[in-house]
């Protein structure tokens, strides 16, 4: 197993994608943390007719958490792309042939890819987290707000963010196996993650008990895993787009693990049966 994971890591590190991705992770992390910070510090939201000054109503830990996870939606989208490409490029450039010639037990190749993706997502996720800390931290610091109000709690959130990125990468792997046309797979992955799934989640809120379903959706499970809205009162949460009823962080994390696990199993099953031409 070890050699196959090593081969997969080498694959990732020998194209220009790895530093492009690291750079994108860093920049989007920094940018969206800064935007979130600016929104909270300088902006206000309309909640039930009266203007709420976010900076005043949010506890400082919640505020910092929101800032530092401000880019997570871009982050997990990038992780999703890494996952899709990990298998999609093998079909697109027909390297699947040499890959499966070197390792004819294909389930091991998919598992090696999954293991390598966890490492890759965590590695490039670190750039995202560091970017967020810099982009958000600077603005918080300049406005005399606590940069690290509770280092242990924030550290936990950021570690969970890395976990979330790894799980989204695995979901990407699943999509990439299902749809062997890389371009189509990327399109579907992005469209589902950013348009279909949020719209569906939003639509469900109009149905009785729809929230109960929607909170198991990947994007809402991600937010719940990161405890983003914990500490903010319900009115603020709702007006910032969070749904009322959320899963506990561990339940949400397990939900994402389940998605990633199911996708990986489907990936193994499909890849074993497929003809490589």
């Amino acid at each position: 197993m070890g050699p196959l994971v090593r081969a997969e890591l080498r694959k990732y590190l020998t194209t220009r994608m790895y530093w492009g991705m690291a750079l994108a992770m860093f920049v989007t992390g920094a940018l969206f943390a800064a935007i979130t910070a600016a929104f909270i510090i300088y902006g206000s939201i309309d909640a039930g007719g009266n203007e709420l000054d976010l900076e005043a109503v949010l506890p400082e830990l919640t505020l910092a958490r929101m800032v530092y996870t401000g880019g997570i939606q871009i982050g997990y989208l990038l992780a999703l792309v890494i996952g899709v490409v990990a298998i999609g490029t093998e079909f697109r450039h027909k390297t699947a042939t040499s890959t499966f010639l070197a390792a004819p037990r294909r389930s091991r190749v998919i598992l090696a890819k999954a293991a390598a993706l966890v490492l890759i997502a965590v590695g490039s996720g670190l750039f995202h987290v560091i970017g967020s800390l810099i982009g958000g931290g600077v603005l918080l610091g300049l406005n005399d707000l606590a940069v690290l109000p509770d280092a242990a709690q924030l550290g936990r959130t950021l570690l969970l963010a890395l976990l979330v990125l790894a799980l989204w990468a695995l979901m990407g792997l699943g999509i990439g196996v299902l749809i062997t046309n890389q371009v189509a797979a990327l399109f579907v992955a992005v469209a589902v993650a950013w348009i279909v799934e949020p719209l569906l989640g939003w639509g469900l809120t109009f149905l009785d008990g729809g929230d109960a379903f929607a909170r198991f959706f990947p994007s809402q499970a991600t937010t719940a895993t990161l405890d983003v809205f914990t500490g903010a009162d319900e009115q603020v949460t709702r007006s910032m787009g969070g749904s009322g009823e959320q899963l506990p962080w561990w339940g949400a994390a397990l939900t994402l693990v389940a998605y990633a696990g199911v996708m990986t199993v489907i990936g193994v099953w499909l890849t074993r049966r497929r003809d490589i031409a």
Binding site: K11, T14, T97, L101, P104, D275
Partner: protein
């Protein structure tokens, strides 16, 4: 291990079939490939060569039958690259990854050191170019890189799909010498081609298929047939008589023109001397070569072996 090198590794294809929907790409194909020899796997485009090789290498699931390498299925080989080296497609490289890195990725799966990668690039003659991104490689470079991939694990068996495709004449000569050396080491070499003439001087054995069926298997000598000589004379019957007395089989062959006699011998001097003895004036005396290209076309293009891929729409309409 010592036993392995003396006996070599045989490829055995047994009743292999592959059906894609209602198209039978490979139909109950059986043949074997011997070690220490270069075997040409021949057939026109669409005959099922690539599908057969992919089934042999575990990439495509056979509908029935099996392909064995040294008695084992490819997927059951513990470290496949050390048993079988394959170059199936000259284009299957990531354009953004260097050829050297492509090799290093595959080397990692078998814990093969980078030194071996560099040695191989030296061997196939692209040490410097292989450090550039593969997107800019010429077809010849891709073929050489593919060969390096195949040799990575120092395998006993080589399976090369159209290895001469895209090589310049110098490259083809180089490849021929290269494969000869490997065969002399006792390796089992199977190379596919859609042109017999392209590999005629390279291969020892041939396996010819058409439309997924085996149409001929044997040595290249068998394909050439017995060596024959053509004599043209004004007295063919007298010549045939004298030849018979001397123990040589000869026959008058109208299809080669008036007075043509075909003799089963490649000894032109002897045939000439016998003609003098018979008092038969010799108008022409030459070796009669089997036109392999024509033979190949006869074998693969006969009506029942015509490529069904090409006239599929027609048959659909008919049925």
């Amino acid at each position: 291990m010592a036993a392995m090198t003396t006996t070599g590794t045989q490829i055995e294809v047994r009743g292999l079939s592959k059906r894609f929907g209602d198209l039978v790409a490979v139909d109950a194909l059986s043949f074997s490939v011997s070690p220490g020899r270069i075997t040409g796997f021949l057939g026109p485009n669409g005959a099922g060569k690539t599908t057969t090789l992919r089934m042999l290498l575990g990439l495509v699931r056979p509908t029935s039958g099996e392909g064995l390498i040294g008695g084992a299925r490819y997927a059951d080989l513990p470290a496949p690259l050390t048993t079988v080296g394959a170059a199936l497609e000259a284009t299957s490289f990531h354009p953004g990854r260097s050829g050297r890195d492509h090799l290093r990725v595959l080397a990692a799966t078998h814990r093969i050191p980078d030194q071996r990668v560099d040695d191989l690039l030296e061997l196939v003659g692209i040490p410097a170019a292989a450090r550039k991104r593969a997107g800019g490689y010429s077809m010849g470079m891709r073929q050489r890189l593919g060969l390096a991939v195949a040799l990575l694990g120092d395998p006993q068996v080589l399976v090369l799909d159209e290895p001469a495709n895209g090589l310049d004449p110098e490259g083809i000569r180089w490849l021929r010498g290269f494969l000869r050396r490997l065969a002399a080491e006792g390796k089992t070499i199977l190379i596919s081609s859609h042109l017999l003439t392209e590999v005629e001087q390279t291969v020892d054995d041939v396996v010819i298929i058409a439309n997924g069926h085996l149409v001929r298997q044997g040595t290249i000598e068998e394909l050439h047939g017995d060596p024959t000589t053509l004599v043209r004379t004004s007295r063919p019957e007298a010549l045939v008589d004298t030849l018979r007395t001397a123990g040589l089989a000869g026959e008058v062959l109208a299809e080669h023109g008036p007075g043509a006699v075909r003799v089963l011998s490649d000894d032109l001097t002897r045939v000439g001397d016998l003609a003098l003895e018979a008092g038969a004036p010799v108008h022409e005396l030459r070796m009669l070569r089997t036109d392999l290209e024509r033979l190949y076309f006869d074998l693969t293009e006969s009506p029942e072996n015509r490529n069904r891929n090409l006239d599929r729409p027609e048959t659909r309409e008919a049925s």
